[in-house]
């Protein structure tokens, strides 16, 4: 008897999770409903997480930030890899307001690190990412690789399924990718984690039809 109840319970829970997963996948990539109509209350700003890559990646996303309407994307949170000191400095130059926050995240693997120790560091990086995401719970995530953004986007996806926060994920593939997506880009595209996926060269859009071709950011 207890056995049947347990089985039934497992089936019910699994069905619920799968249904929720399918719903989230169905909703991902669909535009949100228009925010407030003309004349009524002002449009509510959205809390925004900006994941800074490094070097050229950071330069590209800063170009994007310079044309975004800042009052719509407030407050803003910046995350960069703990080993990357330049990117946050560049973001600080862009931000005059004190409402923006700057954070660093542990990297799962440094260049040249052994695979055995990287299991441990990956776990730490994930836990750290989870903690940061719980604190920020962004409504919007802007990222453009490399690897740092992937765990954060996966955690955001889990938050969607559990119902902690619905965040819209935007990924801009780097201008350096002309023929093939980066590993980060490929993962976020194939797993349907990015709501909107942008590429800077037409060749890529032909290979990945769900992507939007937006021309060069640089």
């Amino acid at each position: 008897m207890a056995c049947t109840v347990a089985t039934a319970l497992i089936i019910v829970i699994t069905t619920l999770i799968v249904t929720r997963l399918l719903y989230v996948l169905h909703r991902t990539g669909k535009p949100l409903k228009p925010r407030s109509s003309k004349g009524s209350a002002p449009q509510q700003p959205l809390s925004t997480l900006i994941v800074l890559g490094s070097g050229g990646h950071t330069a590209e996303i800063i170009n994007l930030l310079s044309v975004l309407q800042k009052d719509r994307f407030t407050p803003r949170f910046y995350i960069a890899a703990a080993t990357d000191n330049m990117s946050l400095q560049k973001a600080r130059l862009l931000e005059e307001t004190s409402s923006s926050q700057f954070m660093q995240i542990y990297r799962s693997r440094e260049v040249g690190q052994s695979y055995i120790t990287s299991v441990w560091t990956t776990l730490i990086a994930l836990a750290h990412g989870f903690w940061l995401m719980l604190r920020i719970r962004p409504q919007v995530i802007l990222c453009n690789g490399p690897g740092t953004c992937v765990p954060l986007c996966v955690i955001a996806f889990l938050f969607k399924i559990v119902g902690i926060r619905w965040s819209s994920v935007f990924y801009v593939e780097s201008i350096a990718r002309v023929q093939r997506l980066s590993l980060s880009g490929l993962l976020l595209y194939k797993l349907h984690i990015a709501d909107q996926f942008f590429v800077q060269w037409p060749q890529l859009q032909r290979k990945y039809p769900r992507a939007h071709y937006v021309g060069c950011l640089m």
Partner: protein, 178 residues
């Protein structure tokens, strides 16, 4: 291209940059007699090399009759000044260096580092070369590219902008178009 040449009279500088990488194969290539001879033949007088984390140190030279003046350094905070002063830039394939040089409107030869494991960087250099914004070379073909290049046929690069992305993001989130 470049208006600073007039003030430094007959000086024509080639600026070589590898950014924060180490790219000894490129430094070795520009330090060869055949590349230097080709640069001299094309009217360049100075060779300034930013060698980054590389360990190969090129032979410096004061220059003078029929030889290039060669100087080098590891890093500098004033790369932009060197780019402005250059008549030709030879760069590694990093997107930062490429677009900074193109923004300065300088003729550019990008040399692809074939020793990199994930060599996706050649994609960008080759695409921009196909579009005639720059020349693309390998360390071993650099002298030939210098010999054959026609700088007048290069097409100036117009910097892109992120407005289309910003529009799509805003629209997706339900903000009204402006």
């Amino acid at each position: 291209m470049g208006d600073t040449e007039a003030t430094v009279k007959s000086k024509k500088t080639v600026f070589v940059t590898v950014g924060t990488t180490s790219f000894d194969a490129l430094i070795r290539a520009v330090d060869t007699q055949e590349v230097k001879a080709e640069l001299l033949r094309r009217g360049y007088t100075q060779l300034l090399i930013q060698m980054g984390r590389g360990s190969y140190i090129p032979t410096k030279s004061e220059g003078g009759d029929e030889t290039l003046a060669v100087d080098c350094f590891t890093f500098s905070s004033s790369i932009a000044d060197h780019l402005r002063a250059a008549s030709l830039v030879i760069s590694h394939a990093g997107s930062g260096s490429i677009f900074e040089t193109l923004r300065h409107g300088k003729p550019l030869i990008v040399v692809v580092n074939e020793d990199l494991m994930d060599n996706h960087q050649s994609e960008l250099a080759e695409e921009l070369a196909d579009r005639k914004h720059l020349y693309c070379a390998r360390p071993q073909t650099l002298h030939r590219v210098i010999a054959d290049m026609n700088l007048d046929s290069l097409i100036p690069y117009h910097p892109g902008d992120a407005t289309p992305v910003a529009k799509l993001v805003s629209r997706f989130l339900g903000f009204a178009d402006d």
